[in-house]
Symmetry: C2
Subunit: 180 residues, 2 copies
DNA sequence: TAGAACATGTAAGACGTTACATGATTCA
DNA sequence: TGAATCATGTAACGTCTTACATGTTCTA
């Protein structure tokens, strides 16, 4: 599942401009790219050259014209193929664990301070996920099944973050009580 | 915590050759880079030019000579600074969630097949972590505290993976029972 | 009046991966 | 005899990010 597949997926939900895609990808944690123009506009041109998407120019009064992209039959077929590919294992990039790995050179107090800062960050992130899930209209909802799947996707991120929060709290407690 | 910091950290544990570092990084999930030569050998040269590491050539009979790198005082100071930086939030790249996001075009049976394949992958990964934790001598152990921290790091990955496993099993069950 | 939102695009560079190049030794 | 391990390095390429460039409209 690379950015191209993701764009095809988004367009299989509904037509969108490059700017729309940028906004969606930037604000989403699931679509984990930064949502920079360079990749998105280049990918759209590429996908169009391959006949997987088309676009129509919409002229707006008092706003710049925009190119609204739609997925083609061929694009849908390609998307279908990538959905059937073997699932990838998650890539977990936790810089904080590397920080902890060399924390031997720090006194207990500084390790605790780090753990507390990390807890704050994670707690904030969890609140963000929960607020985002509550907001309606942000996800495809073409059937009860699709609604369910998107709820589960959102719950996946929350569950992962909750586990992280429990982990850091337990670690804090152990360090405070010097349980080692 | 980038690759350079990670190399400094590893060298703060013990001197190592580029090849040693490559092996450690390749086999570790915490140090999440691929461990390719290009980055590692280039970083070592860079770090040496900045005076953060030095090396001694060890000539071995019946094996190629190697450059054994050590961290300098200056390198230790730089490492200390990066340990005190504000913790980064984990980057979770779960391609599978994106696959599920567009699974509306698949029948229940194919979604279930995907979920089962994913479960297998995750279960395998969890077994791998647990086996790796059991293996001794793979981590710094300069004090009970450091030993504890490394245990917690390893437990973090296991806990995250266990949560993922529970999530996929619950999702499977819901889809089987069509709970939506 | 300054900044955010809308809208499309390009340039430069950092970051990361695979594959290539070389060559001895060890093990199945 | 072929593959894996040890050991250092380079080339080519793909991915991803930040910043630049341009211009209007709306809001604080």
């Amino acid at each position: 599942m690379d950015l191209r597949d993701t764009i095809l997926g988004l367009l299989s939900w509904r037509p969108a401009s490059g700017y729309d895609l940028k906004r969606i990808i930037s604000n989403s944690e699931v679509f984990y790219w930064s949502g920079n123009n360079n990749q998105i506009y280049k990918s759209l041109i590429e996908l169009q050259n391959e006949g997987l998407v088309t676009h129509q120019v919409h002229i707006q009064e008092s706003l710049p014209a925009k190119k609204v992209y739609s997925i083609t039959e061929k694009g849908l077929a390609v998307l279908h193929q990538s959905l059937l590919r073997a699932p990838e294992i998650p890539e977990l990039r936790k810089g904080f664990l590397i920080q902890l790995a060399w924390a031997e050179i720090l006194p207990d107090g500084e390790i605790l301070a780090l753990l507390e800062k990390y807890e704050q960050e994670i707690a904030g992130r969890l609140r963000m996920y929960q607020a985002q899930t509550a907001r309606p209209g942000r996800s495809p909802d073409r059937s009860p099944r699709e609604k369910y799947l998107w709820k589960r996707i959102s719950e996946n991120l929350s569950a992962t973050t909750r586990t992280e929060l429990e982990w850091v709290r337990q670690t804090q407690q152990d360090v405070r009580e010097r349980k080692f």
